[in-house]
């Protein structure tokens, strides 16, 4: 397998993984927008985390920002897989920012809220996987 083909496969896998993350973030966004996370009756492990003040930035649900980030990753990875060089340069900072923000959200859950939302942990795993995939792309082939 050539390096170029290997790189294309990695970007394609990153695109597929980001779609899974997008689905998760879309679900959480809907929960936040319907107010379900502020109540009992929805996902019992979500409302403590997603109903907290850390779940919104300037009134916008963090999950919605996450959905936009996953969509950006999907778009960038898809274009990168088709050979668009600019998409590759965009992909790295977006996933880097997601990685750092995910670390912050894990810290909030573990040390400030003392509660874990399983959808958030799933999203964190997806972000770590995306970061791993981007790191695995052969550096010497980057244009």
């Amino acid at each position: 397998m050539t390096v170029s083909r290997f790189r294309t496969i990695l970007y394609a896998v990153a695109a597929i993984v980001s779609v899974i993350g997008l689905a998760d973030a879309t679900y959480l966004s809907v929960q936040a927008l319907t107010g379900e996370t502020l109540s009992c009756g929805g996902s019992p492990d979500c409302f403590r985390v997603l109903g907290s003040s850390y779940a919104r930035i300037g009134g916008i649900p963090v999950a919605l920002l996450g959905a936009l980030a996953y969509f950006s990753v999907f778009a960038s990875a898809t274009f990168a897989a088709f050979g668009y060089a600019r998409a590759r340069t965009l992909l790295i900072p977006v996933i880097g920012a997601m990685f750092v923000f995910t670390l912050w959200l894990l810290y909030v859950q573990a040390f400030l809220l003392h509660a874990y939302c399983r959808y958030c942990l799933f999203s964190a795993a997806i972000t770590f996987l995306l970061a791993g995939l981007v790191i695995a792309v052969p550096a010497s082939q980057e244009e």
């Binding site: 779609v19 689905a23 319907t34 109540s39 009992c40 929805g42 403590r48 969509f71 898809t78």
Partner: protein
């Protein structure tokens, strides 16, 4: 250059099987190869030989692949954007609670018979905040603290009504509702309401919450024997069931669900600012009418 006669024969067989598309393919071939030249005459149906058609097919396939490689990422991104937005919209419509307004004709004077009606604040207040709550629900516990603030802020202009809506997911919620109703039968509903929310973290995890409820009953000065009897009474059960049935009929699914002057509070307004704004709006409407 050697010629593969078998391949040529097969090509002709394939071409002769699709005579109807012959002219179209030839025309496409013409468009591809002579796009820049407007003087080249268009191909005629008579010039459409089977061998040329195969070449055109191959050329068309190449063009298709080329176009796909160029436009497929755009198509994929657009399709995923559409799918994410569409599924989100469908999910939002499905999950959004469709709450009905409380009928204006319903009597709000107090508890009678099997109906449980617990009022706090001025009974003749112009604004009524009615809550469907679950004693084991943490957001309801937070909201109970906020109710105290509201009563201080709005004083005689606001009354609070509490409705039991124990959720099946909460192990001790129904028993807690029965304890509150039993306390209410001795005139101490709100005292039990407050202690249940204050001690929620303790009894929620206790294997035998009833023992704790009985200790709370002692703390707020209830007759314990009567309290035990009332907790097991049909009247207490009917009151809890009556509240739950009312909530079900209005489309209540989550707790706390709030009504202000019989109108449901939107989920996005279920926060201190939103509730205050809704109360102020209800007061303004009352002062106008």
């Amino acid at each position: 250059m050697p010629v593969n006669n078998d391949t040529m024969t097969n090509d002709r067989d394939v071409a002769s099987a699709i005579p109807a598309s012959c002219f179209l393919i030839r025309h496409l071939d013409f468009v591809i190869t002579n796009a820049a030249s407007s003087t080249t005459p268009a191909p005629s149906l008579l010039r459409c030989s089977p061998h040329l058609t195969i070449q055109s097919l191959r050329r068309s396939f190449w063009l298709f692949r080329h176009l796909m490689k160029r436009y497929l990422p755009f198509l994929l991104v657009a399709a995923v954007a559409l799918a994410a937005f569409g599924s989100g919209a469908v999910l939002y419509r499905a999950k959004r609670p469709q709450l009905l307004a409380i009928p204006e004709t319903r009597n709000l004077t107090g508890k009678s018979g099997t109906e449980s009606m617990h009022i706090r604040g001025n009974p003749d207040a112009p604004v009524t905040l009615e809550e469907f709550g679950d004693f084991q629900c943490p957001p309801c516990s937070s909201f109970a603290g906020f109710i105290e603030e509201l009563l201080k802020q709005y004083d005689s202009r606001l009354r609070i009504v509490f409705r039991n809506f124990p959720l099946p997911a909460h192990e001790h919620a129904r028993e807690a509702a029965l304890a509150a109703e039993a306390a209410g039968m001795q005139g101490r509903f709100w005292e039990m309401h407050d202690v249940l929310y204050r001690e929620q973290a303790v009894w929620s995890k206790a294997p035998n919450a009833r023992e704790l409820f009985e200790s709370y009953a002692g703390t707020i000065g209830l007759n314990l024997d009567q309290f035990r009897k009332d907790m097991d009474s049909e009247k207490a059960k009917e009151r809890v069931d009556s509240d739950h049935a009312l909530g079900d009929s209005l489309g209540v699914k989550f707790t706390p669900t709030l009504y202000i002057n019989n109108q449901p509070v939107e989920p996005k307004d279920k926060n201190p600012e939103g509730v205050r704004a809704a109360i102020n709006a209800a007061l303004a409407r009352k002062s106008q009418s």
